[in-house]
């Protein structure tokens, strides 16, 4: 009797662990439609969302052909739109392999949090998808280029964004870092911008520039050069290039400098009760291209080049900071966060006033540029008779 009850209780416990785990979800892989990317627009009336998904359509046949296919459906909320979509498509939409989410400007201006909540809360979608803002009038047209170009455009965009470390054209932002930035104090969010460009008669999306947010609302854009400066300040440059105009007589001689290594340090300094930020940049570059015969490789020429490059970098960076301060008043550089980390005491006093303080914050830039080599040639080309 005792042993029967023992066995019974073991069976009961086992049965409970098996059936209460909620792991009952057998679905064949070929009944799913894989979503590669999603784009979110506002409907024309403005009260509904337009959810666009780019799906990978796999053709049945001797060779497997994968095509990009887009589908747009309206809904009151994003989940509503998704549900409407499921009732159209025979196969169930599967979001676990989604790589990007594109927001339209309208959506971003209205407040990113509204849509980001679903992206993050949804159990299938990953937290590391790339979030972008479309510079075009809608977000869906970015994904729609996929069907015209024979590639899954979302996967391509994802790869482009993953390469940003060495290209420095746009800030890469995964969903979870975006959420961190939105919620963090002393830092404002930025997102990469994607726009359509004509390349050889084909229209392709290109990721260049930055969308600047204040709180969770889009307030403006930075162009490519400004974006690179932003990335310099955020210490996110690990490659890319600087183009330096020659000085004086050689104004027409452009020199391309390839960035080999970069390290940026933000230093908040308190001087006479005034907060200052000092940006120290140490960059190692290589001469990659000299459009002329001027000798920038021997020491005097090199020093001149270093100096002029440092100067233009300083000027450019200070301009960007000033522009952001005056135009957007949004601390996208994370100065506040740095102050918070280095001077927690000071931060406590100024935290609530930071919105106003940032605007007048004094920022100084101290670049230190080193030319390490001149690629494969040790001399500029000469022009003889």
């Amino acid at each position: 009797m005792k042993s029967t009850s023992k066995i019974l209780s073991v069976i009961l416990i086992l049965a409970n662990t098996l059936f209460l785990a909620g792991c009952w979800n057998y679905r064949e892989i070929d009944t799913l439609r894989f979503v590669a990317g999603i784009a979110i627009d506002k409907s024309e009336t403005g009260d509904q969302y337009l959810l666009t998904v780019e799906t990978v359509d796999i053709k049945n046949g001797g060779e497997s052909i994968m095509n990009s296919n887009t589908m747009t459906v309206a809904g009151d909320t994003l989940l509503d739109a998704k549900k409407n979509m499921d009732s159209i498509s025979g196969k169930k939409l599967y979001f676990a392999h989604t790589r990007i989410a594109v927001l339209s400007q309208d959506v971003a201006k209205e407040g990113a949090v509204k849509v980001i909540d679903w992206l993050a809360r949804n159990a299938e979608l990953r937290e590391d998808i790339e979030v972008l803002v479309s510079q075009e009038s809608t977000a869906k047209e970015i994904l729609e280029t996929g069907s015209k170009t024979d590639q899954i455009i979302s996967f391509e965009l994802d790869k482009v964004l993953k390469n940003q470390k060495t290209i420095a054209n746009a800030p890469e932002k995964e969903l979870w870092t975006l959420i961190n930035d939105l919620g963090g104090s002393g830092i404002s969010a930025v997102l990469p911008l994607v726009s359509l460009k004509k390349v050889n008669s084909r229209t392709l999306p290109s990721v260049t520039g930055t969308a600047v947010f204040k709180k969770d609302k889009l307030v403006g854009f930075l162009n490519v050069d400004d974006t690179r400066d932003l990335l310099f300040i955020q210490n996110k440059v690990d490659g890319g290039s600087l183009v330096q105009n020659g000085e004086g007589d050689n104004a027409g001689t452009k020199v391309s400098l390839k960035i080999l290594e970069n390290r940026t340090k933000l230093k908040p300094i308190e001087k006479d009760g005034n907060l200052e930020i000092s940006i120290e940049i140490k960059t190692t570059v290589a001469i990659d291209e000299i459009e002329g015969t001027e000798n920038y490789i021997d020491e005097p020429g090199r020093l001149r080049l270093e100096k002029s490059a440092e100067e233009s970098m300083k000027k450019s960076l200070e301009n960007v900071v000033q522009e952001v301060q005056t135009k957007y008043n949004s601390d996208i550089f994370g100065f506040g966060a740095k102050v918070k980390a280095d001077m927690p005491g000071t931060w406590k006093e100024i935290e609530t006033l930071w919105g106003g303080k940032f605007k007048d914050l004094k920022v100084s830039v101290h670049p230190e540029l080193t030319i390490k080599n001149s690629a494969a040639f040790s001399q500029p080309l000469r022009i003889g008779d």
Binding site: L18, Y26, I29, D30, V56, I58, S64
Partner: protein, 512 residues
């Protein structure tokens, strides 16, 4: 488990000796009558040879040899028994009444001559290949050892070939097998203890162990289990292996078998006990632990690093052989998010248009592989080729082409099958477990697999082989027990073969 044997003990008495038939029969003084006695016992057995002869000088020395054709060395009978008795001048030597004694001591040239009167002993000796010599006027007979039947030459064992190491293997003869073991270990502590099993076959078995090294408890337990065996015939050591294993219904072995004398000698040095069975080239050794599944004889002759690598490979292979289909099924039907995107897409592309659900594909392919394997094992070599071609081309290539089965599943089941052959000592274990895990994976995905794994570990942990924990050397770090497990300690650090620890009171362990 032990109580299983105990219960049988009570039933035992009923099958005491079947051979009561000749208890009443007794030898008489007359050779004629004695011959008739033998012929009655061996009715309808034409292999019984009876040869009457007489000494040419002494008429009283009328003798008769009885033996079984094919079991004896006739040369020995001719030259060492018949010849001396026929031609020798026995007249002077023989005084009245001691003819038998004189023959035994002075005439017959054989190393082993015994006097016997019991008809049972005589019949048994004749069956075993000895010659019975009847002499007129005596109620006793002589048993002359003339065993000599054809045996297979000592050969390299087919199933356990090595590149490096001794190439001799056991044969079917008990005595030759014992000599092979004795030649490896020249130590008087090496004991050979004979026993007889099987009420009809009377198969001789021999327990080998090194006294002082083999744990007494294991030996006692083994003898106890052997004594409880009730069976009429033992055809091969496989019978005994199954009869004395710890968990009769488990797919796991707790007794090992090998065809290699070097393997047996090594295990004897470790304190294990070997059972040599007459008529079987497979010698049993015990206790047998789980890690031994992954050991090969060559491991001990190759460099220890290489041994470690190949043992690791075997372990990974076995893991794959058991878990691969289950993992594939749970990945593709439950956890699609865990597959890297490009792989997911190509699996999806391969699955397009295939009619069966993944789980059914897995079962079908597993079944097909087992059929092919089984056919391959039993086929004569020339037909084997056909099996390979049909298996590879028709079932593999064409099935994918016709979109009956998806290509990734063929890869998975192929891998599973190949890796299962990495450790051939496993027989039913991977097949049964694979199916079980497949079922769990089908029900619950990885959650189910983990469930199975936990159950497996619990099952392993409670298992014992003759009182020695089955997972010895793999679950806890003990300097002495891990010398020969996944890794092999270089010989320079091993002065003695690692000895088996024996858990005290292992029997009461089970009774709790």
């Amino acid at each position: 488990m032990f109580s299983f044997f105990r219960k049988k003990e009570e039933k035992k008495a009923k099958t005491e000796n079947q051979s009561v038939l000749s208890a009443s029969l007794k030898l008489t003084n007359s050779v004629e009558a004695n011959i008739k006695l033998f012929k009655d016992i061996f009715t309808n057995d034409d292999t019984l040879i009876v040869r009457n002869f007489q000494n040419k000088y002494l008429k009283a020395a009328a003798c008769c040899v009885i033996y079984i054709d094919g079991m004896v060395n006739t040369e020995v009978i001719n030259e060492n028994i018949i010849q001396p008795i026929l031609g020798g001048n026995l007249k002077e030597e023989i005084s009245d009444g001691n003819l038998l004694e004189e023959l035994q001591y002075k005439v017959i040239a054989s190393s082993d001559v015994k006097e016997a009167a019991n008809i049972n002993d005589l019949v048994e000796s004749a069956i075993n290949g000895d010659t019975v010599l009847l002499v007129e006027g005596y109620k006793q007979a002589l048993i002359v050892s003339t065993k000599g039947w054809q045996t297979r030459p000592i050969d390299e064992p087919l199933a356990e070939r090595v590149v490096r190491g001794p190439r001799e293997g056991f044969v079917e003869s008990l005595i030759i097998n014992l000599s092979l073991i004795r030649r490896k270990i020249k130590n008087p502590d090496l004991k050979f203890q004979f026993k007889e099993l099987g009420s009809s076959t009377k198969t001789k078995i021999c327990l080998c162990y090194i006294e002082g090294v083999a744990p007494e408890k294991v030996l006692q337990e083994l003898i106890h289990r052997l004594d409880n065996i009730e069976i009429d015939g033992i055809m091969d050591s496989g019978y005994i292996q199954e009869l004395i294993k710890d968990a009769p219904l488990s797919p796991l072995e707790t007794v090992a078998s090998t065809e290699r004398p070097d393997n047996v000698a090594g295990k004897l040095l470790e304190g294990r006990i070997a059972i040599v069975v007459d008529g079987s080239p497979f010698v049993l050794t015990l206790p047998f632990l789980f890690v031994e599944y992954f050991h090969a004889d060559e491991d001990y002759y190759n460099d220890s690093l290489f041994t470690t690598v190949s043992r690791t490979l075997r372990m990974i292979g076995t893991f794959a052989a058991i878990f691969l289909p289950a993992i594939y099924v749970s990945l593709t039907t439950f956890h699609q998010e865990m597959i890297p995107t490009p792989l997911l897409l190509s699996i999806t592309a391969a699955r397009q248009g295939t009619p069966f659900p993944t789980i059914l594909e897995a079962v079908i392919m597993g079944f097909l592989f087992e059929i092919l394997r089984e056919t391959g094992t039993r086929m004569p070599a020339p037909i084997g080729q056909t099996v390979v071609i049909v298996g590879a081309l028709v079932l593999g290539g064409a099935a994918i082409e016709a979109r009956f089965i998806s290509a990734p599943m063929v890869i998975v089941s192929g891998l599973t099958g190949i890796t299962a052959l990495l450790t051939v000592k496993f027989k039913s274990f991977p097949i049964i477990l694979r199916l079980l895990l497949l079922f769990l994976a089908f029900l619950m995905g990885f959650y189910g697999i983990i469930f199975g794994l936990i159950g497996l570990v619990i099952y392993f942990m409670q298992m014992r082989s003759y009182g020695v924990p089955y997972l010895l050397g793999t679950t806890a770090f003990d300097e002495n027990n891990i010398k020969d497990t996944v890794t092999r300690t270089p010989w320079r650090q091993v002065h003695f073969h690692p000895r088996l620890p024996v858990v005290e009171n292992h029997e009461s362990d089970h009774r709790k």
